[in-house]
Point group: C2
Chain length 404, copies 2
């Protein structure tokens, strides 16, 4: 029984994701599709629009056989850590291949780029450091460093977000000599930041934008997603009363910063280079999350980096917690969020070969990393009513979602 791994956020699950799954099955010839998905908070430093269990249901209904949770510490990270955690999780569960979407669409070119990079890695790193020291932002510095080793002149445009991620996946596979075949599918709609929705395929970003424009907008984006996503979005809104956005978290974030000292703030992951003072200072006059971001933002920090810092603040994630992922080592567990009958069959056949514990529900004291996932999940639900917090937390203590 062959498995193909996907690395996803499904925020929310849409027709582009459906196409990705179908293509992945076709190219990989796999019998089982395994997705490793971010949990409560996403790579770009945002809360997921609906919780991981509702997103899992949508995924299982559309062709994914097993949904695993990417540990928080890897999920809210720059692409290299994110990729390492995701690829490593898929490796532990035994996939033969990983299939990702990219703007390039050519695995040959991506691998060639990686090999070119690998031969000049030390030059790249030296240049990167130099540009950062000159005060350049990371994306700019990184782009120039790639150019310095002749990489941006190859067939791969490493400014495109999915090419960057794809490059990181290949790095994670090859640097660690994993026996996983990388595969890629060209993204139908390559413009990631597209805001207009005209066809049945739209980016998650543009779908979320529409969803947050007005309340009754679900109707307008229905054509871009499977029915099960529409159902899960509807159900969540009806029960929880909201879809999660940063603004919902403002009261908690602000409360936290107002009652923390600069010294305490300094311990939080991402609060670097005097940001603790900027946070304290700006907090005094701020009434929305957006204004806060603008008040803190300078050329030095990317929007994403600051958002990640806010996620760490909200979840009370310390610099010392990050030590858990700074050295490449195997993920300490596999968190199972949901599975189909096919997924169950796969697990039954393979479980004797899986070296790390498979976590079906929270409660046992398995790993500090898992405790941090739980803390992130609790922070995520904090904006709901006390009763709903309790109810949704309980899901973590039941088994995974089964679509049998």
């Amino acid at each position: 029984m062959k498995a193909c791994g996907l690395i996803v956020e499904y925020n929310p699950f849409h027709n582009g994701h459906l196409y990705h799954i179908q293509k992945a099955k076709e190219i990989s010839q796999a019998d089982c599709i395994i997705a490793v998905m971010s949990g409560a908070f996403l790579q770009r430093g945002e809360p997921a629009i609906i919780d991981k269990f509702h997103r899992t249901k949508a995924a299982l209904a559309s062709g994914v056989d097993i949904v695993l949770e990417l540990p928080y510490l890897y999920a809210v990270q720059s692409s290299d850590y994110f990729a390492y955690g995701a690829v490593n999780t898929l490796n532990e569960i035994g996939v033969e291949s990983i299939c990702f979407g990219s703007e390039s669409g050519s695995i040959t070119n991506l691998i060639a780029s990686y090999k070119h990079y690998k031969g000049k890695e030390s030059v790249y790193k030296e240049k990167l450091k130099q540009y950062l020291d000159e005060g350049m932002s990371f994306p700019d510095a990184s782009q120039l460093a790639y150019r310095a080793i002749g990489l941006t002149d190859t067939a791969i445009d490493l400014k495109k977000p999915n090419n960057i991620l794809g490059f990181s996946y290949i790095k994670a596979i090859m640097d660690n000599h994993l026996s996983i075949e990388p595969l890629t599918v060209e993204r139908i709609q390559s413009n990631f930041h597209d805001k207009d929705i005209t066809t049945s395929i739209a980016s998650a970003t543009s779908i979320r934008k529409k969803l947050f424009e007005t309340d009754a907008i679900l109707e307008q984006v229905k054509q871009t997603m499977p029915n099960e996503t529409v159902r899960q979005l509807q159900r969540y809104k009806e029960t929880a009363g909201l879809w999660h956005t940063w603004e919902n978290y403002f009261p908690f974030l602000h409360y936290r910063v107002m009652t923390m000292s600069s010294k305490e703030l300094q311990k939080i992951a991402g609060v670097d280079e005097g940001l603790e003072n900027r946070l304290k200072k700006t907090a005094k006059d701020i009434t929305t999350f957006k204004d806060w971001m603008h008040a803190i933002k300078t050329k030095r920090y990317t929007w994403t980096r600051l958002q990640r810092m806010f996620v760490h603040l909200l979840t009370n994630t310390k610099k010392s917690d990050l030590a858990l992922i700074k050295q490449p080592s195997s993920v300490p567990y596999i968190r199972l969020l949901g599975l189909t009958q096919t997924g169950q069959t796969y697990l039954n056949k393979r479980k004797k070969d899986i070296a790390v514990p498979i976590v079906h529900k929270l409660g046992k004291d398995i790993s500090l990393m898992l405790k941090i996932d739980e803390r992130a999940s609790d922070a995520y639900y904090s904006i709901l009513t006390p009763t709903l917090r309790y109810k949704y937390r309980q899901q973590e203590r039941h088994g995974p979602i089964r679509l049998l």
Copy 2:
């Protein structure tokens, strides 16, 4: 110009307080009444029903000439620390006397009790330690220790809450050899825990109880308080949308505990003897503040002690912060919340004799203790909308309230 000091919470200001002021003027023959008042959080570990500025307005309208804020670290403390901070603040501003309400009503008996106690202080402390070590709660242990030195058999019943406080005020004056004359007024309604309101005099506890029973209940307790209190209560409710109770803070408190480790909880003032584990454990199944209190409560901890712990948690007050008050030393500043023309005249005449800085508004970096007051105030307002938080915080940066 003579000044008499009062130690108050005004939660809210009622006719009993008015009587207290009139009696204090009469007995002390003072020209100026100076009240030192708890700010956002009160001695028994509760949020004040309305904020300190609205309570200050009510007090100034009813005969108080100067309102000072008792620093948070003293305000949310057992009676000895509370009394020390309050008496010391009044001493710094130069009052000739302090007048407090008590069930006893006899200053001669209270002073006699203090002197009796003083002669047997070491026996009392030894007994107290012994009873505490036997697992007794503090109030029980203290009562038995007093009995052991023959104190509860004197004219003063040291189980009555205002006698206890009065005893502490006298201790603070005499132990520190302050030249302040202690005076007392017998409380009209001596039953502190009375819940029925039949006359124009009722306890603050019973008034609050009525106020929280239903929304439109202000009418029913109107006869127990001056018009200005009614006005301030009304105005606060109209603007802020609520009167503060513990339940309002549940989401923030719960969020905080869910995202803190036991090790971090252990650093919080009042989180002693394994309470950090009890907090973490009970938090999982709890949806109201009241249920949480009941889930944590054991014979070992008084209700008040646990509530104080929750205040410290909410305000992020550490055990290390308490070091600031553990050694008797002068208060580092006097925080001026409001004054009348008489109060202004008094300050003009006396200010050259006042050794510590008088703080008119926040902003300057005067003392860690003042920073903690500000943090407490921020935590207090955290349950309001972001715009109101901002508005109310701004009051702290304006000068004191002037009723001229």
